[in-house]
Symmetry: C2
């Protein structure tokens, strides 16, 4: 059941090295239009995009992300959950903020922003551009808010670095579908032995970020450092959200 779109989606590889070019105005407008035409929860359109070209802001965001390619070659977009715009509209119409501070409405904004980001990834890849999603901006969301002087009621949820690819990674092996797609009943019985073949496949993947070293098996990664207890400013996310006036009414 393949077509050009599906083939491209199945061929997705995250790109982390770009040529020293920037997107044209036409390319950016196309990407913004695609983001705009994404489904939006209750038609609230609670998503905004910031295109960062200022070198100091790019450097500051790179410092938060701790990834050398962020704000280096290519274009940097920051996707916001944006409830500020609707707060302004309500206020100017003489209404209170209503449900804008609830977790529910915040999560609906997250849906808007994340779906828009994925839509932009798909569009960019169809234009033969490469993309890396930047969850790393959430390493220190307050710093991103400060650097971009974002108003309350917004939250920088995901970044994208986009450009002409300057590397060719392998396709990274995904969990076999039987582990992630179920008919009617969730399959609670997960046995390490059943993941052995997949683990083996994952170890054949070369991560270009790491001097062409093979990566650890999937189950070793999950049982390892990335999910072990450790201190990180990422754990301030709820505090930052609350300071932004978001997701505060946890119990109504």
């Amino acid at each position: 059941m393949k077509n050009n779109t599906v083939e491209q989606q199945l061929n997705h590889r995250t790109i982390r090295a770009f040529k020293p070019t920037t997107l044209s105005k036409e390319q950016l407008t196309t990407l913004y239009s695609v983001a705009s035409h994404t489904p939006t929860s209750m038609f609230m359109q609670q998503m905004s995009i910031m295109h960062i070209t200022d070198p100091d802001k790019r450097a500051a965001i790179r410092e938060v992300s701790k990834q050398p390619y962020v704000g280096a070659n290519g274009d940097l977009l920051i996707f916001l959950v944006d409830l500020y715009r609707n707060q302004q509209i309500r206020q100017q119409k003489g209404k209170d903020d209503g449900r804008l501070h609830t977790a529910d409405i915040f999560f609906q904004g997250v849906d808007d922003a994340i779906m828009a980001a994925q839509n932009v990834i798909t569009a960019a890849e169809s234009m033969n551009l490469g993309v890396v999603p930047l969850g790393s901006i959430k390493n220190d969301p307050q710093k991103i808010i400060d650097v971009l002087d974002l108003p309350k009621m917004t939250f920088p949820v995901l970044g994208l670095q986009i450009g002409i690819p300057d590397q060719q990674p392998q396709l990274k092996p995904r969990l076999p579908l039987k582990f992630i797609a179920f008919d009617n009943d969730y399959h609670r019985e997960i046995k390490l032995a059943d993941l052995a073949d997949y683990d083996q496949e994952v170890t054949t993947y070369y991560d270009l970020r790491d001097a062409n070293r093979r990566i650890d098996s999937f189950t070793n990664q999950i049982a390892g450092a990335k999910l072990d207890h450790h201190y990180t400013k990422r754990d301030e996310i709820m505090k930052v959200l609350h300071q932004q006036g978001l997701c505060t009414d946890e119990e109504i």
Copy 2:
């Protein structure tokens, strides 16, 4: 800068009436594969999909959503934020749950699941299918968890109803790009007067759900009932997440 993929994305219309057909195994496998090849935060693959064909479960989900087309014609998919699988892997490797109960890791799972859902929407539309995203499953997430007998550490974050379209809605007008895309600086000054033209455009849209009546202007919608204070079980979302063991370590 258009191509087939981008043209289709710009032409996205949510479909809420489907022909009485179901997806073939090949179509479903294609959609699951596309979901699988979506970017995933830290390669944790914290997304699962449930395909609901059982009539009682479909009816129960329709009752939660309060939308007549849910679980009626077409196929019903429920996207889960799934941290259960990784919890099982860690436990079977003799590790504690580590960061799996943090808000940070939960939000990374949300990114995985929502991006996968958008990717499936794009793939389905490229196959000339229609889709409606179902945020309505969050009207009562605990009920969805009960109906689907979901384990702890999972959360049903979004549904999709997919099928052969049986309606042709207009393209719903989106906010002009100047309101949603910014270079370097967020535009805090939002004036109702600047939205007057867009408001007018929105009122020309016929919503097929409402006997072909025109819809209210955008700013009237935002200032109206959908965001006014009112009681809803949707506000139990944080409580339900915590009961699922998710997003609990708000302050580490």
